[in-house]
């Protein structure tokens, strides 16, 4: 939660950075603008660091006698789930025939869900151990850095990935740059499968995201350096000037005119053309409303507001605009813009018909997003809302998949989708429940009953507690 100060009870001052990892880095100005050099209109390679992820071998598997949440709000009691060749084959009731050659897992008393998808993580860019040498999440040398790509900072040996898998059932996650900058750079969507390289973890075919931030962090980080922005109005001025430039750049591209290669403008043009999804850190309701107007002004769409602590105040607006709210259950009070948090936020947003997502922004809470959703669910029910467990699971898999542009591939247990599946040893909205097995693309990547199916990163090899249950 608190970058750069976690692990210290001395925290306090740097708490200003809490919420989306805006830890300051020493400002080493390497020139504000990205290198620009090119002569002709050329087709730039849009995927120069392509995914080399491959699904590991799995066996045709049937889980039977299990309670299934399908991820889109459906539920099957005493159900049967079949998956093979990395894909969901079918889910159905107790009479579902199990074809020959399938391994059969008894799910009696257990629950089966799509894998959890965390839309807001800094694993890899702020990895453990959180030493200065690993602080790679904020290029805090310019308020707009659309040219940086989070994947170039991700350390695949971050032990946090394995914790998110084993304790949290997280099968996919978006790694974002921090929120020091108004425009922080491109995100990367990963499958939570260990690899030697980041490319080996990249979710095949996932669109890029672009991190934006409003509010306290950018104005504080740059204001304290005597630079613009130092106010919220400065935030918007810099954003709008940047969008205006991007619009002009895109116009040239669209007209086939020559442009100098500009990595920053390529990202922004990608947003304006709808190829890159905006993931916008924004707490306050009034500020979200202004961002929405800005998106209309320049013709882009906000995919999700992250940390939307005040989403409940404008839930109707979010529903109308089709913007997701990615929120915590109950974080509050760590900074001014998080002061008006209410535990019913998740449920109020859901009830207003807006796309609701439970996110972590935290290497610890990513290990129990199911528990965070459960708290939000309970708060809603105490208000008298009728929300079922299976509806609430949409906050953890289908909705984040939608906001990441991968809902056609994962996020629910529809036939043909990736077999990203978690078997829980009880109701996943109970505190007493943990993942028992996690499959990613049909391959068994974690098994609580088999120590050999517990990944150990290079960093933890040969250290105290190697291979421990953690």
């Amino acid at each position: 939660m608190i970058r750069g100060v976690k692990g210290s009870l001395l925290a306090a001052v740097s708490l200003a950075f809490a919420g989306c990892a805006a830890s300051g880095t020493s400002a080493q100005s390497a020139g504000d603008k990205p290198a620009a050099s090119a002569e002709k209109p050329v087709k730039f390679n849009k995927d120069p660091y392509p995914s080399t992820y491959h699904a590991y071998a799995g066996r045709p598997t049937a889980v039977r006698g299990v309670t299934i949440f399908d991820g889109e709000g459906g539920r099957i009691d005493n159900g049967v789930a079949l998956f093979a060749d990395g894909k969901v084959v079918s889910i159905g009731g107790p009479d579902t025939a199990i074809p020959a050659g399938y391994d059969v897992v008894d799910g009696t008393g257990k629950y089966l869900t799509p894998g959890v998808i965390d839309i807001h993580s800094h694993l890899g860019v702020y990895p453990s151990p959180s030493v200065d040498a690993h602080s790679d999440g904020n290029e805090a040398t310019s308020p707009t850095t659309p040219e940086v790509w989070a994947e170039h900072s991700v350390w695949p040996q971050d032990p946090g990935f394995s914790r998110a898998l084993a304790n949290g059932g997280v099968t996919s996650l978006q790694i974002l740059p921090g929120s020091a900058n108004l425009i922080g750079g491109r995100s990367v969507v990963l499958k939570n499968v260990p690899a030697r390289t980041v490319q080996g973890m990249k979710f095949p075919g996932a669109p890029y995201g672009m991190k934006m931030a409003c509010g306290e962090n950018p104005k504080r980080v740059y204001g304290s350096k005597g630079r613009m922005p130092s106010t919220r109005m400065g935030n918007f001025a810099v954003d709008r000037a940047t969008w205006a430039k991007a619009a002009a750049y895109k116009k040239k591209l669209d007209e086939g005119k020559p442009v100098d290669r500009d990595l920053a403008m390529e990202t922004l043009a990608g947003v304006l053309s709808g190829e890159i999804l905006v993931q916008n850190h924004c707490y306050r309701a009034d500020e979200m409303a202004q961002v929405i107007d800005m998106s209309h002004e320049f013709g882009y769409k906000v995919s999700a507001f992250h940390h939307a602590v005040e989403a409940y105040k404008i839930a109707d607006v979010l529903a109308k605009e089709g913007i997701c709210a990615a929120i915590w259950a109950d974080w509050w009070g760590f900074k001014m813009e998080a002061y008006d948090s209410v535990p019913e936020n998740i449920a109020l947003v859901y009830k207003a018909g807006a796309c609701t997502i439970v996110h972590s922004d935290d290497e610890n809470q990513i290990q129990r997003l199911n528990q965070e959703a459960a708290k939000g669910l309970a708060a809603g029910r105490r208000m008298g809302m009728q929300i079922s467990d299976e509806q609430a699971w949409t906050w953890l898999s289908y909705n984040p998949a939608k906001a990441l542009g991968i809902a056609d591939k994962t996020g629910s247990l529809k036939p043909g989708k990736m077999a990203d599946v978690v078997l829980w040893n009880g109701n996943p909205f109970s505190v007493y429940t943990r993942p028992e097995k996690v499959w990613i693309d049909g391959a068994l990547m974690f098994d609580a009953t088999d120590p050999k199916r517990r990944p150990v990163s290079d960093f933890e090899l040969g250290q105290p507690g190697e291979g421990d249950v953690k």
């Binding site: 009870l9 306090a12 304790n167 001014m336 209410v342 029910r381 109970s430 943990r434 421990d468 249950v469």
Partner: protein
């Protein structure tokens, strides 16, 4: 007129006592001392104190009766290590009294005057069932952070249950940065400051003789004397196994020290040494990442392994948000119960887990005769829950502190109600209350 005035003055004085009698019946009663829940239990509070709790307890005549309807009734949660009352908004400096990095003083700092019982975090944590908290200062300019307090989260103006209830210090990485850059310097600084305090205790004039060479101020020396003679428990933040062993050795030179380990992330690696030293441990139990090189062995099984080795373990919420989210205490304890079902993991059973967030922290701070359970003689801090208190989303439906029924309405509830329908009505939202 005069008579009326006198009466109301008397009423003001008497009110806190008069309101402190209640009997809660038909409870699934948890005493908090590690014993199993009692079905159909009763707890009787008189004069703000528990007089009896258990099955077949008679309800005195004339006392207010509350039927718990078979729901869980427990002692209030004791936040084992927190900053509740010291912080309103972390990043708003004027509202944050956690640390005093530019103070001339260190050990002598006493947080009591900084506590704000009317702050919204007090109400929010109270509504989550937290009735008492061990509050420690965050940091000073010196090696010792200062003196913490045990507080109540009652809806009144007096928060302090016991002032100067603990002294706080960090060893390990945090301590070495305070001491000048190495662990070696931390241990030397610690020893020199305690020896200076000891000299001062024998002859107060020594401090004046040292003049500007003195390592500590008079107020610091006074506080450290109480640490040396065991009057004030010394809460020590320490995580690395090797550091823990070195901290335990401090009792060799200062045998009266009452040590309490805070954090002890790698405690499980030296659990038998901790148990042998009879030093209690406060853990933030879900820390399972190698967040730094002094926490390489971090695991959620730490609490369970320590308990199994005979260490007195308390469960708290720190290394996270230690002022606002004390409500996580029950969730964290529940997670330790979950571990008992996980192959290869160590956790706590339900009764142990609940004791770890009530009587165990009370014992660690030397107050288990006063707070942390529903045994007779303890303060009347009682909570009725709508469900298993360790389960997610369970909430108190009634809370008493010192036998006094508490308001559970928070600022967050008011915001929720205002925006239950987000659209404005006939008038702006500002008129809606």
């Amino acid at each position: 007129m005069m008579r009326a005035l006198l009466l109301s003055a008397a009423a003001l004085i008497a009110a806190p006592v008069a309101a402190q009698d209640v009997a809660i019946t038909n409870a699934r009663l948890v005493i908090g001392d590690g014993s199993a829940p009692i079905e159909g239990g009763t707890v009787v509070v008189r004069g703000g104190k528990v007089v009896a709790a258990g099955a077949g307890v008679a309800v005195p005549a004339g006392i207010e009766r509350v039927d718990a309807g078979g729901h869980w009734v427990t002692p209030g949660i004791v936040a084992a290590f927190s900053r509740v009352g010291l912080v309103e908004v972390d990043a708003v400096q004027g509202s944050n009294d956690r640390s005093a990095r530019r103070s001339r003083f260190s050990a002598g700092i006493d947080i009591a005057p900084a506590l704000n019982p009317m702050g919204s975090p007090v109400a929010v944590n109270r509504a989550a069932g937290v009735t008492r908290a061990i509050v420690a200062p965050g940091d000073s300019s010196g090696l010792f952070a200062g003196q913490g307090a045990v507080v109540d989260l009652g809806d009144d103006n007096d928060m302090v249950t016991r002032p100067r209830a603990l002294q706080f210090i960090e060893f390990g990485e945090g301590g070495s940065s305070n001491a000048g850059g190495s662990r070696a310097a931390t241990f030397l600084m610690f020893r020199e400051q305690l020896l200076a305090a000891r000299s001062y205790a024998r002859n107060p004039a020594t401090l004046a003789e040292w003049g500007s060479d003195a390592l500590i101020q008079r107020a610091d020396a006074d506080a450290l004397v109480r640490v040396i003679n065991g009057t004030t428990p010394l809460f020590v933040r320490v995580d690395r196994a090797a550091d823990i062993l070195n901290v335990l050795k401090l009792k060799g030179e200062f045998p009266a020290l009452k040590l309490v380990l805070v954090g002890a992330t790698e405690g499980w690696l030296v659990a038998r040494d901790i148990a042998a030293a009879k030093v209690p441990v406060l853990v933030s139990p879900l820390s399972d990442l190698p967040a730094s090189f002094e926490r390489l062995g971090a695991t959620q099984s730490n609490a369970g392994r320590l308990e199994a080795a005979g260490v007195d373990v308390s469960v708290g919420v720190f290394d996270d948000d230690d002022a606002h989210k004390m409500g996580y205490t029950t969730q964290y304890a529940g997670n330790l119960v979950a571990l008992t079902k996980l192959p290869g993991a160590s956790g706590l059973n339900w009764d142990q887990a609940f004791a770890a967030i009530t009587s165990a922290p009370a014992r660690a701070v030397g107050m288990d005769g006063t707070i942390g359970s529903l045994r007779a003689g303890r303060v009347g801090d009682v909570v009725i829950w709508d469900n298993d208190p360790l389960e997610l989303g369970s909430r108190p439906t009634a809370v008493w502190i010192d036998g006094k029924r508490q308001s559970l309405v928070t600022r967050q509830d008011r915001l929720r109600d205002r925006y239950a329908t987000p659209q404005e009505g006939a008038l702006p939202k500002a008129y809606d209350r």
